[in-house]
């Protein structure tokens, strides 16, 4: 059979010499490599005390934005859900009632808004599709959970807190 690449090496089947049989030179050589790496620059960081900087285009966990007056930007237009290749976003819209003008910017708003983080592939298409600057991908990870239930993010997980309000 012809080899696919020319990197294949035939196995050396000659019997080992005395020096090879006592193994000590090979062990010393291996320990030497280990010792060399102790003095080299470390490739790991001490997470979580120490964190690597994110790339400026990093796409992490979503947030739903508010405008300058603290009203929700999202109008449940459904463009993020239609753009989502993983079909992770679902929503239900409602009409703003008189008296709710301080909560929602437009006459229609998302009464329910959910992102299934198990499905989400963090492609950022929702952010690109949004005509109202409502959804943004931040520079944080979705935190780990022991159960799948914790990965369904509703509006209370996604909305940025009101100015002055503690989350």
């Amino acid at each position: 059979m012809q080899a696919l690449t020319n990197r294949a090496k035939p196995v050396d089947r000659r019997p080992m010499t005395f020096m090879e049989k006592i193994y000590l030179p090979a062990i010393a050589k291996g320990m030497g490599i280990t010792l060399k790496h102790i003095f080299q620059k470390k490739e790991t960081v001490r997470y979580p005390e120490q964190k690597r900087p994110f790339s400026p285009v990093f796409r992490g966990l979503h947030v739903l934005n508010r405008d300058a007056e603290g009203r929700e930007n999202c109008t449940a237009c459904g463009l993020c859900a239609v753009a989502c290749p993983a079909e992770a976003i679902t929503m239900e819209a409602a009409e703003r009632k008189p008296g709710e003008e301080n909560l929602y910017r437009e006459e229609k708003y998302a009464a329910r808004y959910e992102i299934n983080m198990l499905r989400c592939i963090f492609c950022g298409f929702c952010e690109e599709a949004c005509p109202k600057d409502a959804i943004y991908l931040t520079e944080t990870f979705a935190p780990a959970h022991y159960k799948r239930e914790g990965f369904i993010y509703g509006k209370k997980d996604l909305l940025v807190p009101m100015p002055g309000e503690k989350k």
Binding site: G78, A93, A94, A111, R148
Partner: protein, 363 residues
């Protein structure tokens, strides 16, 4: 022997067609079909007297007729201009027409609020399509747009006058379908608005058809208001034996699962209804058991409505239960235990008007 009717030979964008005398250029183009059909916002073939208002169907007549081959001096509205023998018309082959149409779109959008994210018509709006195909990227209009309060015309129809482009289609519909028209245009020029006389409610059996003829989102179905976006719904052809003799009972149901969110008349490729339907069919029969469902409606491939509708999918056989000796795979999470969306207790399609905060917060 019946004398043979003389047919007029017309050339539209270098495609010849023979049409009967008295046909408009627009209808001659529609007989050819394809890309050369001028767009129309106000003309509606089922409504007598419609057309001539919006100017989107402007075409250039490069040769008047065989007898008088001079070109027409200005662009003409193809929905109102009848053909002559030997006429030659340029639509997409004329840069002048394209430029004029761009200007018309800009004018139509002058006072349009561009609230497509909120509007229920988005996704099936003719003005949206027209803007994408013929419009400019931005507007040069810097002044305040005219605004109106939204009006309830009857309990089932909502009028957003801000979105109206004054095509008069709804006025013609009411004129020709009902005995007594109760709405019309008040004011002139920029102040013109569709209105009922002192906000009188419209209560005619066929008045719901004004929703279908409206090319923009000015007249919308209040029973569907904000319930869902059209591209998340699945249109299916359906019919029922309507008691109303004038109603054909042939409709399109916009469904999601087993829920019927909206009922509309069947529309052809020019967005015109095939036949009128009555208000009972449109507003009151919102259950799947009221209808005989014929099958999925063919939606144009380029339409956003066709997105996510996976047609012609063949699923491979699930061999998991065979491999597991008949045991069912363990379900690790039922999404309905966690998700707040589509809760079984809240049936959005069953709520009369748009949903409000109290509809969601009730237990």
């Amino acid at each position: 022997m019946a004398e043979e009717k003389k047919l007029f030979k017309v050339k539209i964008d270098n495609i010849s067609v023979e049409v009967e005398p008295g046909t408009t250029i627009l209808n001659a183009a529609r007989q050819i079909g394809g890309d050369i059909v001028p767009p129309a916002m106000c003309y509606y073939s089922k409504l007598k007297g419609s057309g001539g208002k919006c100017r989107t169907c402007l075409v250039k007549v490069t040769k008047g007729s065989e007898a008088d081959p001079r070109p027409m001096p200005k662009l003409v509205a193809s929905c109102r201009t009848t053909v002559m023998d030997g006429m030659e018309v340029a639509n997409i082959t004329s840069p002048e027409v394209q430029e004029a149409r761009k200007g018309v779109v800009e004018f139509l959008l002058l006072n349009h609020p561009l609230d497509c994210p909120v509007c229920d018509q988005a996704g099936e709006c003719h003005l949206q399509d027209l803007g994408y195909e013929h419009g400019a990227d931005g507007t040069r209009y810097e002044f305040k747009r005219r605004t109106f309060e939204k009006i309830d015309i009857g309990d089932k129809i909502q009028l957003h006058m801000t979105r109206c482009i004054l095509c008069y289609r709804c006025v013609f519909t009411a004129d020709q379908l009902t005995e007594k028209r109760e709405h019309g245009i008040l004011g002139r020029g920029e102040a013109a608005e569709i209105s009922t006389y002192i906000h009188k409610a419209l209560d005619n059996e066929f008045i719901g058809n004004v929703i279908d003829v409206c090319p923009v989102g000015a007249l919308t179905d209040k029973t569907f208001r904000f319930k869902n976006r059209v591209w998340f719904l699945k249109p299916v052809d359906a019919h029922r034996n309507c008691e109303n003799p004038k109603c054909c009972g042939k409709t399109v149901l916009w469904m999601r699962g087993d829920e019927v969110f909206r009922v509309t008349a069947r529309k052809d490729k020019y967005g015109e209804v095939e036949d009128w339907i009555c208000n009972t069919c449109r507003f009151d029969k919102k259950e799947a058991k009221d209808w005989v469902i014929e099958g999925p409606r063919a939606v144009e491939r380029h339409s956003v409505i066709s997105q996510g509708h996976y047609v012609g999918v063949t699923k491979p056989k699930d061999t998991l239960t065979e491999v597991l000796d008949g045991r069912k795979p363990k379900l690790l999470m039922d999404i309905h235990n966690v998700s707040e969306v589509n809760r079984p207790g809240i049936d959005l399609s069953a709520i009369q008007g748009p949903a409000h905060s109290d509809d969601f917060n009730k237990k």
